[in-house]
Amino acid sequence: MQQIFHFIFKNSNRLLFLLLLGISLALTIQSHSFHRSRVISSANFLSGGVYEKINNINEYLNLKTENDALALENATLKSLLFNKKDTASVAKLDSLKGVKPQDIIVSKVIHNSYSVPENYLTLNSGANQGVKPDMGVVNSLGIVGIIDNTSANYSTVISILNKKSQINAKIKKSNHFGSLIWNGKNTGFVQLIDVPRLAAIRKGDTIVTGGQSVIFPENINIGTISKIEKDNQTHFYTITVKLFNDMTNLGHVYIIKSKDKEEVTNLEKLEKDE
């Protein structure tokens, strides 16, 4: 017994090192292997609060560009409204009992990351504002990512510039589906894989979100085709997509709250269980 104590005292630093190394390696592996539920995330009061303070200052430097972007978006929406056949009538909601199928929470990116293979953003709205994991995040130009973790007032987003992100997307004119991934290299480009050879595609075609995912509504802009490669083994196209969004410069974003999502997910789970 005495010898055991002696051993522990003698090697206390080494044992402490091994213990802490075990903890940190476990955290690392856990963050790489699971889609969600990371223990350490920036959606907490400490880092969220600090990032919000920093962002409050940075915001003043970008006021002009941010205003221009919002004015441009307003102009686009106005032109949609004015060019309708009857400008006086309000659009009929595509729903029953006045429940909108999609709802939007407005939010702001308070921390942006784009230099590592797995990028996450931090937003300044959380569970108190109704944000839940797996909601889609878009801005006026296109998609941004999917909500990962939430705390009371902050949430983290898996950016589309993240190797773990995989989003259903399609070619706008031909409706051929594929998966949108990122190879971790260039922040302006993402890859669309598993597009069948049948698809008639050309450089410059628009890529939008597909209807198969319940996270994003259909037909949200993503980018344009900039390079097409054929994979000789799998007979699928690998397409390089130039993003509409500048992921290094994000301001206000919209979180999409889909009313149908729970129903669809439950239904699909039922199907799987049988």
Partner: protein, 168 residues
Amino acid sequence: MNSTLLVNILRFILLLAVQVIVFNNMNFLGYISPFPYILFIILYPVNGNKTGLLLSSFLLGLIMDLFSNSGGVHATACLSLAYLRPYIFKFSFGLSYEYQTVKLNDVVTPERFSFILVAVLLHHLILFILEAFQFSIILDVLLRTLLSTVFTIILCVTIIYLIKPNKR
């Protein structure tokens, strides 16, 4: 002794704050980012409490992970650096390390520079390998490590010169 503790706590907070506010937002060419916050581990007193160093380095890394959403990558790298620090001392200072006359917070001599170089390289190598977590992009990781190491060392030496205590 008490003032050393105070200086270390202050250094811990200040370096972390500067790292999060300024250096985390620096991305040269999109992927070269400096991490001068490990100066805390490098400048920790040579004959200081080893357990304290291990615990504070782990905490330092964990807080960095908290801010950069990276799991436990920084914590692992910092902890390994803190544990291997005595061996790096022995490597770059030779015998004089044993007599505890080493003072890092001073003019940069070749020995001191080699110590900083090895320490930063080790930290960055562990950091970037764990961050990528796959072997297929190992060349990319090595390039990144090299470039970031150069960047971090330049900043570290600058900071050491800036906070060097005046001897007049």
